[in-house]
């Protein structure tokens, strides 16, 4: 299309960059309020136990203790930490209590204390006497579904929380596989990952008993829905709860669930003083909801001899941990998102999820799609091998095209530049030459490819309402009041660029206000790669509305018709006679300080619920070397090529992709959330045990953008938030096969697994 743009498309720094590089940025962990108390949660040491009695008398009597709360202090109310519950029509099962009556995982909150300092709080915890009736527990899916296994919940017979459920089947399985000349299948396992942002979980709460208002400083990514959940839990009206979001040093989906907010609020209410609960790293890794529950996938793909895929069948098994959280929606997204990529006419996918006695599962970048992408993209390579087709060629030929079926029935793909992505990536990595390399010696090289199409917002499955409010100051600058849930992803900057572009203002003229539910209008927040796309549409619409108002007022002042006017360079001027004009600032000031009876403050709002399905597509390429004596994988080069539609801020988009590459490599090779199968304890409770890539572990890698504007996105933009993380595991697995001829079906792909596979192959 080739839009002529002044602000959109520029790599401008984050709005909050100055705060962050000077150390002045306030996070919940760095904040203190006057009179603040330290809160601590007493957690169950047992994976499954009934709470018979709790004696808090000694704790309460300890000098310096200001509140001790247990289940007895508040009405027993079912809730869930998964605030996305409100985003789904009908919600998902609420199966948690503020404090457990039956502990269902090691770490389940039993009580909490607030004291004047951490030392006394810890002492008080030790003085709480809890009588537990320890119950038998199960830690694996296999054990949980066995005959006679201990029942974790009354409502889930056989511990099955989601009985076998199919999601959006199409076509006819039997026919589809009948038509296939080749069929490939396999059973795959993936480890749940931990989001592992640098900031530990933390929240601060303050209750004003005079106004009955509860203020919570939270790391949530979804503040308005968090507000409703907290209001629900404490039987308060939503309007009495205020969520403030300091900068968050964590996210990637971790903020789609509450962590210690509920107990923190309980303490604040009881203590009549602000309370801060801050986890240390071990508590954070052990109690944050991890990546979603899918841990095993059995998939089968059929294709004709010329490669045409005919059928895909998959059975997913999820290990939910102790609570429902977003188990069902995670299941839905995982399966549905697997539909987008290839033109497969017959698809049947089913999922079953089981409760076990360990920490529950939440969301991590690439929600559910990570696991299905890994399996699909490695099986596709097996198809290619069987039919003798080049993996890049296969993907180019058989991916869905514009107008094709999206992830959700009725949705249609609005744009697709995957061919370009594959072409660029293949050339950059040297695909043809490297595929033809001789594989000999101890260290063998291989190349691999993977691709996917994701989404920009989870409409129509989830409520994707976004609101934007623009308020113009007398200097012509604009307060852009939106709720992206700022986790540093650069959304506020990009949204500012959109507003500035429409209004002919500079980036510096847009002031984002985003951190307070008292100020911002209801918006989902940030997840499902929705920030830029959904909020961008709202901001663009609001800016266009504002533009019209500006033009009307300016037309009045200049005594011309609005249609004659243009807006640019912070001015409003007659398009045919640019000298004749007025500054935006003058119009804005005149609006307020208008002594001729025409005064107002120019504001504009827009409310958007996107309906289109605008998938960002992506190709990932890897060149690597396998040491056949040690099984170690050394990545020589990684390339991501991403179909962004339009990069509102290329630097921000690249940053998202780069970060995704780091997490994707971690997922593929190093990160293993190890939960003891003996006692259900989280073993990987620190960065010494759970290894995320350090700078030394990152290979030479590039994130490249393809820009072919999407017809539905703001300035043609699609999403990038999650996309960076999907393709490393499957491309690496494919490259390992290319190098040494073994297929690893378990993630993380460790040297131990590679050596076992080589041994089994007789090498």
């Amino acid at each position: 299309m080739g839009q002529k743009l002044s602000v959109v498309g520029k790599s401008l720094p984050l709005k909050e960059a100055w705060d962050k590089v000077t150390g002045k940025a306030q996070y919940s962990t760095t904040m203190n309020l006057p009179g603040m108390l330290v809160g601590k949660i007493l957690r169950s040491p047992h994976a499954h136990a009934r709470i018979v009695s709790i004696d808090i008398s000694k704790a309460r009597a300890l000098p310096g203790v200001k509140a001790v709360v247990t289940a007895n202090d508040f009405p027993k109310k079912l809730f869930t930490v998964n605030v996305m519950h409100w985003q789904l029509d009908g919600g998902e099962l609420m199966d948690m209590y503020l404090f457990a009556d039956v502990a269902r995982y090691i770490g389940d909150p039993i009580a909490a204390v607030a004291a004047v300092n951490e030392e006394i709080a810890k002492e008080a915890l030790a003085l709480i006497h809890v009588e537990y009736e320890v119950l038998p527990a199960v830690f694996t899916v296999e054990d949980a579904v066995k005959e006679g296994a201990p029942q974790i919940r009354d409502n889930a017979a056989g511990n099955i929380v989601v009985p076998p459920m199919s999601v959006f089947p199409t076509g006819d399985m039997e026919q589809g596989f009948k038509e296939a000349d080749v069929v490939v299948e396999g059973t795959y396992t993936t480890s749940k990952a931990i989001q592992a942002g640098m900031e530990n979980a933390c929240s601060i709460a303050s209750y004003n008993s005079g106004t009955g208002r509860l203020t919570v400083w939270s790391q949530t990514q979804l503040p308005h829905m968090a507000r409703r959940m907290i209001a629900h839990l404490f039987d308060m009206d939503e309007g009495r709860v205020r969520i403030i979001q300091p900068y968050a040093g964590n996210g990637f989906g971790a903020g789609t669930d509450l962590n210690c907010e509920p107990q923190c609020c309980a303490l604040a209410i009881k203590a009549c003083a602000p309370v801060k609960i801050m986890y240390d790293r071990a508590e954070d890794f052990s109690n944050r909801l991890t990546r979603e529950h899918i841990c095993k996938i059995e998939m089968k793909i059929g294709a004709k001899q010329d490669g045409t895929p005919t059928a895909l069948k998959a059975k997913y098994t999820g290990d939910a941990g102790a609570y429902m959280a977003k188990t069902a929606s995670g299941a839905g997204v995982a399966l549905a998102s697997n539909i987008t990529c290839y033109e497969i006419p017959n698809i049947y996918q089913e999922i079953e999820v089981v409760y076990t006695n360990h920490v529950a599962c939440g969301a991590f970048r690439g929600f559910g799609g990570m696991q299905s992408t890994f399996v699909r993209e490695t099986l596709v390579d097996e198809i290619c091998q069987k039919v003798g087709m080049d993996p890049v060629e296969f993907r180019m030929k058989f991916h869905r095209k514009v107008g094709g079926l999206g992830w959700f029935p009725g949705t249609k793909i609005t744009s697709c530049a995957l061919d370009k992505c594959l072409e660029i990536g293949a050339e950059k990595i040297g695909w043809k030459e490297k595929r033809a390399r001789k594989k000999e010696g101890i260290r063998r090289k291989g190349v691999g490819v993977a691709c996917m199409g994701w989404l920009s917002g989870a409409q129509p499955m989830l409520l994707e309402l976004s609101n934007a409010l623009l308020k113009f100051n007398e200097d012509g600058s604009c307060n852009m009041i939106v709720t992206p849930g700022n986790i540093g992803q650069g959304c506020l900057g990009s949204l500012s660029q959109i507003a500035a572009e429409v209004l002919g203002l500079n980036y510096e003229d847009i002031h984002p206000i985003s951190y307070d539910t008292d100020l911002t209008e209801w918006s989902v927040g940030t997840h499902a790669s929705r920030g830029l796309y959904c909020l961008g549409l709202a901001v663009k619409k609001a800016a266009e509305n504002a533009r019209e108002q500006f033009l009307r007022r300016a037309a009045n002042i200049l005594k011309v018709a609005p249609v004659e006017l243009a807006m640019g360079g912070k001015r409003i001027y007659v398009a045919a006679d640019p000298q004749k004009g007025i500054s935006v600032a003058d119009v804005a000031k005149d609006a307020i300080y208008n002594y001729s009876g025409n005064s107002e403050q120019i504001t504009a709002r827009a409310s958007i619920t996107p309906t289109a399905f605008a998938p960002p597509w992506q190709a990932g390429f890897v060149d690597l070397e396998v040491d056949m004596e040690t099984g170690q994988v050394s990545i020589i080069k990684w390339i991501t090529v991403h179909d962004i539609g339009k990069a509102i801020n290329p630097m921000t988009v690249e940053g998202q992709l780069d970060g995704g590459t780091g997490q994707g490599i971690g997922f593929a090779l190093y990160e293993d959330t190890i939960i003891s199968t003996e006692n259900g304890k989280m073993v990987a409770d620190g960065f010494d045990k759970y290894k995320i890539p350090s700078i030394l572990d990152m290979p030479d890698n590039e994130s490249l953008l393809v820009e072919e504007e999407d017809p539905t996105g703001p300035f043609g933009a699609k999403s990038v938030g999650e996309s960076g993380i999907f393709l490393q595991a499957p491309a690496i697995a494919n490259a390992i096969y290319d190098a040494v001829g073994v297929r690893i079906r378990d993630v993380p792909i460790t040297p131990e697994r590679i050596m076992s596979a080589l041994k089994a192959k007789g090498q």
Binding site: S11, P13, L14, E16, A17, W18, D19, K20, V21, T22, G23, K24, A25, Q26, Y27, T29, T30, N32, Q195, A196, G197, M198, E199, N200, Y247, A248, G249, N250, G251, F252, D280, R281, I487, G488, Q489, G490, M651, T652, E654, G655, L657, D658, G659, G660, T661, G662, Q663, G686, F687, D688, I692, S694, I695, L696, M698, N701, S703, G724
Partner: protein, 156 residues
Amino acid sequence: MKKELATFIVNGVSHDVVITSNMTLVELLRDELNLTGARESCGDGDCGCCTVLIDGKPTLACLTLAVTVKRKNILTIEGLAEGENLHPLQKSFVEHGALQCGYCTPGMILSAKFLLDENPNPKREEVKKGLGGNLCRCTGYNKIIKAVLSVGGGGK
């Protein structure tokens, strides 16, 4: 618990603070001096978020007892800029998009400062080696490396 009045020189300013032996430096900075750029994240030496420079050397404040650094010159991120003028590394991080959530950024910048103080024109591999003790979960490190190389002169 024995209390002691001790002097700490932080960012060139002298502070007299009552401390106990069990106070770590990061706790002193955060609770007593309101300097929250250095942050305790992993608490055991893996992440580098609490990095400060003590007598010019990169030190993990969460594993340092405050009582052991009395009267030493402590530089935190808050002491790097001169008034409104950002240090070249800070400027470079901003311009190159070398931060997202920003939680690791103070420690990362101070480690980079130490690197450049010892080696003003590091090569790419030397930058990586110099930042090996600072974890970042957001950026994948590419733009961090770019930002540091840009201040250093590119390693040529």
